[in-house]
């Protein structure tokens, strides 16, 4: 019985998962998601997280500085769960593969995969007060905090569902 369970677990862990891995780190939630949506580490490759965490004093024009010990712990978490270390998750794999090897984007919204997926949106959809910024994932992706970005769970405020 034990063997069967461990075999099932093994298969589950190596099989392809949809979406991205949900955030599972309290320090990350406390420190990063207090100002903005808690972006999953699997939305950017390791090199991007390292670059971003190296300049928290100027974090997209805001001061997000932390004690160096916390920076270290968080960088480690981000790198270990980055998109290029989570290639068994569909979105992480697609994001990773879309970025050219010699570029290091620090905005998720600047990755080619993200841009392609959002290219048909009208600007007025994003700038409306209910959303404000393309970085506000959960405003439209109702299941974003679970790492699920499927089309069927999209609900754009004042526009409704989104069908490609």
């Amino acid at each position: 019985m034990k063997k069967i369970i461990s075999t099932i677990l093994l298969i589950a862990s190596i099989s392809y998962a949809s979406g991205v891995k949900p955030v599972d780190n309290k320090l990350y939630t406390d420190e990063c998601a207090s100002c903005h949506f808690g972006f999953q580490p699997g939305l950017l490759p390791a090199r991007s997280w390292v670059k971003l965490m190296g300049n928290l004093e100027n974090h997209f024009q805001d001061d997000a500085s932390l004690e160096s010990k916390d920076v270290e712990t968080l960088t480690q978490y981000l790198v270990q769960n980055s998109s290029d270390h989570a290639m068994n998750y569909k979105r992480s794999k697609k994001i990773t593969n879309s970025i050219s090897r010699n570029s290091t984007p620090i905005r998720i919204s600047q990755t080619p995969y993200f841009k392609k997926k959002h290219r048909e949106l009208r600007k007025s959809m994003i700038t409306q007060k209910e959303i404000k910024s393309i970085s506000n994932c959960a405003a439209c992706h109702r299941t974003a905090s679970e790492g699920v970005y499927s089309e069927r769970y999209i609900n754009i405020p004042n526009y409704g569902r989104w069908d490609d």
Binding site: A33, S34, C35, H36, F37, E57, Q61, D62, D63, A64, S65, L66, E67, E130, I131, K132, S133, S135, N136, A139
Partner: protein, 137 residues
């Protein structure tokens, strides 16, 4: 029974606007620093703190911003980060006991938010004044 409830409530209300021991230690350190900078310093002032908290200033992004832009003019209400739309829990310790309870956290936010709003880290006097103001809410 009524008497006992009253007995419990009275001390709570007396200490409602004081700091916990950890925070009081930090306030005392700020006082020492403020006194060093100005020998005439006596104590922090919630009134001066209110001025700092509510005054609009050209911030780090080059746009006018004040503490109330995100924290709302009524500290007992929830606020909203003006750039990300993230909802912020109330800042007033009277409605959110987590506020002003941990020195590490308080230092972090003072540093970040003074930089974002005033483009420089506040002085000991300014920090103490703001903390007195927040704590009075």
């Amino acid at each position: 029974m009524k008497k006992r409830v009253l007995f419990l409530l009275v001390p709570l209300s007396v200490f409602a606007s004081s700091f916990n021991p950890q925070m009081q230690g930090y306030i005392d350190n700020l006082k020492v620093e403020a006194k060093k900078n100005n020998p005439n310093f006596v104590d922090f002032s919630a009134k001066r703190g209110e001025q700092i908290f509510t005054t609009s200033h050209i911030g780090k992004r080059g746009e006018p911003i004040s503490c109330t832009s995100c924290h709302s003019p009524n500290l007992k209400n929830k606020g909203k980060n003006v750039h990300t739309n993230k909802v912020l829990e109330p800042l007033a310790p009277s409605v959110n006991t987590k506020r002003l309870s941990e020195v590490k956290n308080v230092k972090k936010w003072l540093r970040r938010n003074f930089n974002d709003v005033y483009k420089k880290e506040g002085t000991a006097l300014q920090k103490g004044d703001v903390l007195y103001f927040i704590n009075s809410k």
